[in-house]
């Protein structure tokens, strides 16, 4: 008995103490992305979390007018009036989101050496993923450049963005605007030929998307002929057809393919949730009064929805134009894909670029084409304010899609904000707030050069 007990007790000293317990619901290690399927899933994360600041940028621009409900949203009321602190907070969120996506891209790109290919198809799939990653990075960089830098110049003092290639902790400095542009061009140059031969899905970055990203960059750099050439390549790919029916235009915001979609982000939440106060009462914003759709305009009732809302607490209900697109009525909260890049922009870029060349003839050709397709009145060919009209039509087409802010900043236009009660505030083209502040965190922990006046 004693023997048995002794053995039993002594045996307890021996443990099976293997401490290499594998994780069961996560994957660890630097080689976590080791095959093409996982790489696709990882790049999908980048697409999924591609920053969505279209509404905020539209609020900063002049797409909207605040309604009486604006008092319920400190976030939007302070942003609308360009309150510096509010822009600072927005700037931080944007910076964080963009760089997190860039990190996720770098995690995929830096995993290349761990990826094993079973067959040539997988190798090819990887090349596509890599090309998409490059183009996505270029897209993210270019948005950052437009927001955080001043207008293009090759000067060494003109600071651009931080270019990040590693996944480890680094304390990087800002590159110049010129260096930033060169990097974006390099990334696109790499990805374009691969994407040209391999169409994947409009939920991913395709060749046309890469060209449009490139065209935007050339507009920023004032290289109009390059912009025209990029746009023409897109038109060569998709043909010259445009949507010219109400039904067709509505489909642009619905599931499924559509000829004007270029990059539509797959989305699972109601996009206008943040500007909706209450389905019964209305939104924080209505569409600005000067953005008025004719009855016959195919966009009427789709880009905008008419909704009876009080003008202030005491008055009666008046029909107001609320933003549509992502809903077809105020009751409609079904999530819809977000059109990040679409064909109409190509026409507006062409119109503007030709105008600036200057080539009024061709400029008018493209603006006329798009406006006619939309079944709306076209301004006369000899209009003295043709450029202004082009930009206004562009704003009308893209109302609520955040494009206006970039145009106002790029074209150095004055902005007029209507604060209600007859108070109007002018934001001059030289106002420091057009160029977003580098977040204080970057400044404080990295000692980076801040934008002027912030």
């Amino acid at each position: 008995m004693k023997k048995i007990i002794t053995i039993l007790i002594l045996s307890t000293f021996i443990y099976s103490c293997d401490l290499d317990i594998p994780l069961e619901d996560s994957i660890s290690g630097k080689d976590a992305i080791d095959n093409v399927d996982v790489a696709r899933e990882a790049i999908n994360k980048v697409y999924f979390s591609y920053p969505k600041y279209q509404l905020e940028l539209s609020v900063l621009a002049d797409d909207f007018l605040p309604t009486y409900l604006i008092n319920h949203s400190d976030y939007y009321s302070t942003l609308y009036s360009w309150y510096a602190l509010s822009i600072r907070n927005l700037s931080k969120k944007i910076f964080e989101d963009y760089y997190q996506d860039i990190l996720n891209i770098n995690l995929v790109l830096n995993s290349e050496r761990y990826i094993k290919f079973k067959n040539p198809d997988e190798k090819k799939e990887w090349e596509i993923i890599k090309a998409e990653a490059y183009a996505l990075k270029a897209f993210l960089y270019s948005d950052l450049l437009f927001l955080y830098s001043n207008e293009y110049s090759t000067s060494k003092d003109n600071l651009g963005i931080i270019l990040k290639n590693e996944t480890k902790l680094e304390f990087l400095k800002r590159n110049t605007v010129d260096e930033s542009c060169k990097e974006i061009e390099r990334l696109l140059k790499y990805s374009k030929p691969i994407l040209k031969d391999n169409f994947t899905s409009k939920a991913y970055i395709t060749y046309n998307a890469a060209l449009l990203i490139e065209a935007r960059l050339y507009m920023y750099k004032k290289e109009y002929s390059n912009a025209i050439s990029s746009c023409n390549k897109i038109l060569l790919n998709v043909g010259e057809d445009l949507i010219n029916t109400k039904e067709g235009y509505k489909k642009l915001w619905e599931d499924g393919d559509n000829l004007e979609k270029i990059f539509a982000q797959d989305n699972y939440t109601f996009f206008l949730n943040s500007i909706t106060h209450d389905k019964k009462l209305g939104d924080y914003f209505s569409i600005n009064k000067f953005i008025d759709f004719d009855d016959d305009d195919i966009r009427n009732g789709i880009s905008n929805i008419s909704f009876p809302m009080k003008e202030n607490f005491t008055t009666n209900l008046v029909n107001q134009n609320l933003l549509g697109k992502y809903r077809f009525s105020v009751e409609d909260t079904k999530p819809k894909d977000i059109n990040v890049l679409r064909l109409a922009e190509v026409y507006f870029i062409l119109a503007e670029a030709y105008y600036r060349q200057p080539n009024r003839e061709l400029s008018y050709k493209y603006i006329e084409k798009i406006l006619k397709a939309r079944n709306t009145q076209v301004f006369p060919k000899d209009d003295k304010e043709m450029l202004k009209k082009i930009l206004l039509e562009k704003q009308k087409e893209f109302v609520g899609e955040g494009i206006r802010f970039f145009d106002l900043k790029r074209c150095k236009n004055e902005l007029l904000k209507d604060l209600g009660n007859g108070i109007k505030v002018k934001i001059s083209p030289n106002d420091y707030r057009w160029t977003f502040p580098i977040p204080r965190a970057e400044n404080r922990y990295n000692n980076i050069i801040q934008n002027k006046n912030w």
Binding site: I9, D25, I27, L172, F270, E442
Partner: protein, 1032 residues
């Protein structure tokens, strides 16, 4: 008043019922061992006999010893000491008595007086001991207590408290142990030993380790323990005491021993606690209807009745209207009717509640085996409707002596608890107390509230409900094997399994669901989390005494394994009347799609340790321990971490010089030093890249992403602790315990901001060195003591101060990009409140004015700089303490526990001061008088209603005028108990050995230097409790 009467009568009925049910029980046939205590029952067979009375106390702690056997030498006559350590025996002159108790040295005394005070000394491992001391905790080595800081809690008193949570009963009992009350019933209290050792403030990085019968238990398991089942609690504070537990013990250890059976007749103990929990303080006092309407008028917000129906309004907007007069008259009628409504939302939304607990314990046994069984049921209601907690626990402890040198202890315990929480989705019920206006009513006939313009009262309540269940089962076996007279092996193997279930429902008619499509209204989320722990610990111990040298050497290995498996489902679209996840609408897509979540984690830790102790002539004591632990959570190269300690003890009183002093005795000095690595709070994902799949999809494919930004250079924190202690006894009356300590945390970890361009705003890094130092003074004294009257007091003061000693990256650390003041600065403590010097409200523009360091005045337009800030005080009170007193007179006992803290500051909450934008909510009483409305308003406290948006920035800072002192003196507990006379029991209730009834009042009074204007969450509810203890 009616309600109170109802409660009391209910309580009495309840007790009667219990009395009857036990009266009918069969236990009354049990023989009563203690009957010999009664001197009348002894036949006076000799003229020389006399009644000897006495009391037995512990020599070191001076606490009463209960259940000590007192017998007359060479006879079978004897008795046991009662709950106060008292006994009485009839003796013949010249007879000796033998006093014995497990764990104490047996004493034989020849009494010279008829009242004696017996001090029993704890037994230590000596060669000549025959009785094996039950040691159910393998890490509980006596030697370490000589050098380390170990506090023993008097469990008998704590068990009487009306607390469901064992930790709350420990509040204000141990110097240096800080327990803060949670905001809501059912939440875990925060427990800290000697301050916050880490930069990180969360529980996992700062909570002590909990050990029950030698087995490590989770903090969840600790909070649901039944205090009645515990016979001893030790709080280990310094490295010398805790290093044995290795890397888990850096924040101190709370060691518990459960109650066990005893050798002797079966003893049945029944305890009942029934009480009423009152509403407590109001927190902030809110306005009545009249004042609120007046404030609305002055603030001129037309959305609110105070202005909308006022004369001012009509005169401004309808000045030319022919019906102006009748409009004004109608408005006045409306205002009058509103001001007549005075709903007290505090009373409407909170309630008094019942607390009850029943526990039954049965213990007994023979030489070979002993048993202890217990069951406990308790229920406590919270202050808001629908918030309550119910718990049932059970325990079986069996002890077997298999061989004369081999003991086995088996423990099995389990518990079920259920917690209900009702809440608004966006608003908790307690916050509504401060938001609803007193002119609003529960019944509104469909009218919308002014405070919530789009809702009625019923849109605010019954929005959400949550029910949590916890089921726990735990089992362990302890083996104690004495191989020979010098060597013994003890081991503990145990496992516990906890299942936590939660079901929360957002009703489909809830206000938050109004914008949701009809088929997706309502939301149910349900999760089941399981937690399995296995632990084993084997220790071999060698004890040898050679002449004056006592040597103890021990070695151990331990192994811990944890498996967590969680699963959850959440879905929208709840079919009406469905209260389960089965009602989820699975046809929904996109953001209403049902979601499944799952988490599975397994980790293990293995450790090996050794310790040695040496005592010379009971004069010098030397102790050391070393432990190495490896955790599977750490990467291979950082897996092994160590904990070691050294301790010294010096019994000065043993010197003959001091031996003869009358006024001072038992002088003992202790010193210890140790270094413990702390891996708590470091997760695998903070050290190396861990990817996981997200719930969402993109373009029909899954998303694979990094869980956390990792730092491959991260090292565990090291806690270096130094402790110097001294105990002595003055005039045999006053026991003094002094401790000085210094805990240094090296390589302290915190999530620090990094350049955002890295993709993450934060990264866990080793940033610096933090020091906690302080002292603890504890005095225990018997102030008065004679046969009938005894008064005891214990007073303790603890002082803790923390300082940042070093930061590796410069001398300032900003945790927030917007911080004006560094959160951590070398040489400064953590928790300083920085703020501005206020000059009050400017009587001309109604805006606040401040003063900079040069004495210049400035307002919100100034770009404030670091120099403008001043140190306004310290947010954690550095001095805390308690003053606990007990008084016994005949059969009555009275005890009063007082808790205090000094030196802390807090910022007034301005959240109930309303402005134009939030005047729809009720405001704090007195705001109308203290607010600036027009030019010339002097000496106002609150700025004007509408301020420039820019001014909001400066207003968030505390100022010298918004800071108040949190100094507090609180009567934690008053208890009056009455022990039924033995004679009475014998005549009327012969089956009862011991009966005690008591009344307790808890959290009744707190004296503060400044009125607390916080919300209800910080308010502790007073409890009135009646208790009954019966031993059969």
């Amino acid at each position: 008043m009616n309600k109170i009467e109802k409660f009391i009568s209910l309580f009495i009925c309840c007790n009667l019922f219990i009395g009857i049910s036990f009266g009918g029980n069969t236990v009354n046939s049990a023989n009563v061992y203690i009957k010999n205590t009664n001197s009348n029952s002894i036949k006076r067979d000799s003229l020389c006999s006399y009644v000897l009375k006495g009391r037995i106390i512990d020599k070191n702690t001076k606490t009463n010893l209960v259940g000590v056997s007192v017998s007359i030498e060479n006879t079978s006559i004897g008795c046991m000491s009662n709950s106060k350590g008292e006994f009485a025996l009839v003796l013949n002159k010249g007879q000796k008595i033998i006093i014995s108790c497990i764990g104490y040295k047996t004493k034989t005394i020849k009494p010279k007086k008829d009242f004696i005070l017996v001090c029993l000394e704890e037994k230590h491992f000596k060669l000549d001991e025959v009785v094996v001391r039950a040691r159910t905790n393998v890490n509980d080595i006596d030697m370490r207590e000589k050098a380390g800081a170990v506090e023993i809690v008097n469990i008998d008193i704590q068990a009487l408290k009306p607390e469901l949570d064992i930790s709350m009963a420990l509040q204000g009992q141990v110097p240096g142990l800080l327990i803060s009350q949670p905001a809501e019933l059912g939440q875990k209290p925060k427990i800290r030993i000697r301050g916050t050792a880490s930069f990180r403030k969360n529980n996992s990085a700062n909570e002590p380790l909990f050990v029950l019968d030698g087995m490590i238990i989770s903090s969840d398991a600790f909070h649901t323990l039944n205090i009645e089942d515990i016979s001893e609690i030790k709080v280990l504070k310094d490295a010398a005491a805790t290093a044995l537990y290795g890397v888990k013990a850096a924040n101190g250890v709370i060691e518990m021993v459960s109650k066990r059976g005893h050798i002797g007749k079966t003893q049945i103990v029944y305890r009942n606690k029934t009480g009423i929990t009152f509403r407590g303080n109001r927190g902030a006092k809110m306005m009545d209807s009249k004042e609120k309407l007046e404030l609305e008028r002055l603030i001129q917000n037309p959305a609110l009745p105070g202005y909308r129906f006022s004369e001012d309004y009509y005169r401004r907007y309808y000045s030319n209207d022919p019906n102006l007069k009748s409009m004004i008259a109608k408005g006045k009628v409306k205002l009058d009717s509103l001001s007549n409504i005075n709903t007290d939302w505090f009373k409407e939304l909170t309630r008094m509640n019942l607390f009850q607990s029943h526990s039954l314990g049965i213990r007994g046994g023979t030489d070979k085996s002993q048993y202890y069984y217990s069951v406990n049921y308790s229920k406590q209601g919270g202050k808001v409707k629908g918030n309550d907690i119910e718990r049932f626990t059970g325990r079986i402890n069996l002890d077997y002596s298999i061989l004369s040198n081999l003991q086995v202890y088996l423990n099995l315990s389990g518990g079920v608890s259920k917690l209900n929480t009702p809440n608004g989705v966006s608003e908790s019920l307690t916050s509504l107390i401060y938001k609803l206006n007193s002119y609003e009513k529960k019944k509104s006939n469909g009218n919308k509230l002014y405070s919530y313009p789009t809702r009625t009262y019923s849109d605010l309540i019954n929005q959400y409900s949550s029910e949590s269940n916890q089921k726990r089962i735990e089992s362990s076996i302890n083996i104690n094997w004495k191989i020979n007279k010098d060597l013994d092996i003890s081991a503990v193997y145990g496992m516990d399994y906890t299942l936590n279930e939660n079901l929360s429902i957002i009703n489909s008619n809830a206000y938050s669901q109004r914008n949701v499509p009809d088929d997706a209204k309502g939301k149910i989320s349900k999760y089941k989390n399981t937690d399995f722990n296995y632990s084993s610990n084997v220790r071999a111990q060698y004890l040898k005494t050679i002449d004056k040298h006592d040597i103890a050497i021990s070695a151990n290995t331990d192994y811990y394994y944890t498996a967590i498996d969680n699963i959850g489902i959440a879905g929208h679209g709840i079919a009406s009347k469905m209260k389960s996840a089965a009602g989820i609408n699975q046809a929904l897509e996109d953001n209403y799609k049902p979601k499944i979540s799952s988490m599975k984690q397994k980790y293990a830790q293995v450790g090996i340790g050794a310790s040695a102790a040496y005592t010379f002539d009971s004069l010098y004591e030397l102790y050391g321990s070393y432990k190495l632990d490896a955790s599977s959570l750490m990467p291979k190269d950082k897996r092994w971490n160590k904990a070691w300690s050294l301790g010294l003890g010096w019994n000065i009183s043993k010197y003959s010089l001091l031996k003869n002093l009358d006024y001072i005795s038992d002088i003992k000095l202790r010193a210890s030093y140790g270094r413990i690595a702390n891996i708590s709070g470091i997760s695998a994902s903070s050290i190396f890249p861990i990817y996981s799949y997200e719930q969402s999809v993109y373009n029909g494919k899954r998303l694979f992403s990094l869980s956390e930004y990792y730092n491959t250079d991260l090292k565990p924190e090291q806690t270096i602790s130094t402790n110097i202690g001294c105990t002595f006894n003055l005039f045999n009356k006053l026991n003094v315990n002094l401790n000085l300590y210094r805990n240094k945390t090296v390589d302290a970890i915190i999530g620090v901001p990094i350049p955002i361009s890295n993709g993450y705003p934060q990264l866990n890094r080793n940033v610096g060195v933090l020091e906690n130092k302080g002292y603890e003074i504890c005095l225990n004294s018997k102030i008065y003591d004679n046969n009938n009257l005894r008064i005891y007091s214990s007073i303790s003061i603890s002082y803790n101060k923390n300082t940042v000693l070093d930061l590796y990256d410069g001398d300032k650390l900003y945790l927030n990009e917007n911080s004006m003041i560094p959160e951590y600065e070398v040489g400064k403590p953590i928790g300083i409140i920085y703020g501005l010097k206020s000059l009050g409200i400017n009587s001309i523009d109604g805006l606040p004015r401040y003063q900079d360091s040069n004495g210049n005045e400035f307002n919100y337009k100034k770009n404030i700089k670091t120099e403008d800030f001043r140190d306004l005080g310290y947010s954690t009170p550095p001095y805390t303490g308690f003053f606990n007193n007990s008084l016994s007179y005949k059969s009555f006992d009275l005890s009063i526990d007082i808790y205090f803290n000094i030196g802390g500051k807090a910022q007034f909450s301005r959240s109930f001061v309303r402005r134009y934008s939030d005047i729809n909510y009720n405001a704090v009483k007195g705001q109308t008088l203290d607010m600036w409305f027009k030019q010339g308003d002097m000496n106002k406290i609150y700025h004007k209603s509408r301020i420039p948006a820019m001014a909001n920035d400066i207003l968030r800072w505390p100022t010298n005028k918004t800071i108040y002192s949190t100094d507090m003196l609180k009567i934690n507990n008053i208890r009056l108990s009455y022990r039924l006379e033995k004679n009475f029991l014998k005549k009327n209730l012969p089956f009862i050995q011991y009966a005690n009834v008591n009344v307790q009042l808890q959290n009744i009074l707190s004296l503060r230097r400044a009125e607390d204007k916080a919300s209800l969450n910080g308010v502790q509810q007073p409890i009135l409790m009646l208790g009954l203890n019966l031993t059969f």
